[in-house]
Amino acid sequence: MTTENPNFNKPIFANRFLRALSRIRRNRPNNNSNPSSLRRRSKKIKMAAYASMASAAAGSNKAWTRALIRRLRNRRRPRSGLHHRVVVRETEPVGRVDELRRLVPGGRGMDFDTLLDETAHYVQCLSSQVALMQSIADSIIMD
């Protein structure tokens, strides 16, 4: 599915992500069936995946990795369930480029050419991430 991505360090991603998985799993409460806790845990896993991706791509010195790490860090502090960013984003103008800026972490402050550069890198890393997560999930299911 993905071509080899030299900027995406797979061992780092796998290491961090698996550790996060085991940690999330260890910390889960006894009543797993509660839907809100299920959602919270899958969100945690998602955030862990993104954080692992950011650190796996940090060697390439791209702006989106720093923006992503910053976003994840800031999001973690208020433990309420409010989504602050969503409220802010509603007011922004909607266009294709704005949409792209919204999708790529840290894309709002960039020049358009920088945005394209970062987008290319981000897309590569995202697809590598998806492939790795898929293979992890498959390997667990096979077990």
């Binding site: 797979k10 085991s22 358009f112």
Partner: protein, 273 residues
């Protein structure tokens, strides 16, 4: 992006304008440069002539930077339309060299203006020279483009053309990355494809994390109590291959000392490499 490095890396373009020729004409020609010249006259009168060249450079730089910034801001609102319009018209290959140079200089400029002003008189002169270039020669194709677009002064459209070339280059790279994007014609559709692809990937991440959550919740045997050394030492090499042929049992390792949530990137690198 390191501005000084960019400055050094920018190729010495074979500019037909000698600095010695250009410089006096720049000083004498009042009114050609409009606002910039006015700035120069006002500030230049208050400072000694020795420091004049340096100060001139700084003034030139600041005005150029301001203009390019505001210009970029204007462009950014719909960088899309004028790209698709004008890329076909940018055919002057002889212009690209100094285009790139100017763009780089301006970019480096906005990064650390003060440092460069303090550091180099040569840069200032170079900038002054470059900002004179569009004034003196009557470049026909260039004015033609400008007239057609109905916007952008000379130096700006030079820089803009270089920028557009860079953008279309990166668009091509992106088109290669996004599957099914090569068949699409038109930048709007290409951007749509890219956006869709990113969204689908992010959705896949979401779905996969839900799947992983379900899987890890259901599997609660045989994963506890493996030595951490096993994963750290041995399995990394296995992970390194694309197939990701980790033994599933190795994936859940008790790592009580790992404070993962702090996300120290540097620490992560040192741990694993």
């Amino acid at each position: 992006m390191d501005p000084p490095q960019l400055m050094n890396a920018s190729p010495p373009s074979p500019s037909p304008y000698n600095l010695v020729e250009v410089w006096p004409s720049f000083r004498d020609s009042s009114g050609i440069l409009g606002v910039q010249e006015g700035d120069f006259a006002r500030r230049g009168g208050s400072c000694p002539a020795e420091a004049g060249s340096n100060r001139d450079g700084s003034i030139e730089e600041s005005t150029v930077t301001e203009q390019s910034k505001s210009h970029r801001w204007l462009k950014r609102r719909d960088p899309y339309e004028d790209e698709s319009k004008v890329v076909s018209t940018s055919s002057a290959n002889d212009m690209t060299d100094c285009d790139m140079k100017r763009l780089k200089v301006e970019k480096g400029e906005s990064g650390n203006l003060k440092k460069e002003v303090a550091a180099s008189t040569g840069l200032g002169k170079k900038l002054a020279e470059q900002s004179l270039q569009p004034v003196e020669p009557p470049k026909q194709d260039y004015i033609h483009v400008r007239a057609r677009r109905g916007q952008a002064t000379d130096s700006h459209s030079l820089a803009e053309r270089a920028r557009r070339e860079k953008i279309s280059e990166r668009m091509k790279i992106l088109q290669d990355l996004v599957p099914g994007c090569n068949k699409v014609i038109g930048k709007a559709l290409v951007l749509d494809e890219i956006i869709n692809y990113i969204q689908s990937l992010q959705r896949q991440v979401e779905l996969l994390s839900m799947k992983l959550e379900a899987v890890t919740s259901s599997v609660n045997t045989n994963v506890e109590g493996f030595p951490a050394k096993d994963f750290n030492g041995q399995a990394i090499d296995t992970v390194d291959t694309m197939e990701f042929s980790l033994h599933p049992a190795r994936e859940y390792i008790q790592e009580p000392s790992q404070e993962w949530l702090h996300m120290q990137v540097g620490g992560g690198f040192e741990n694993t490499t």
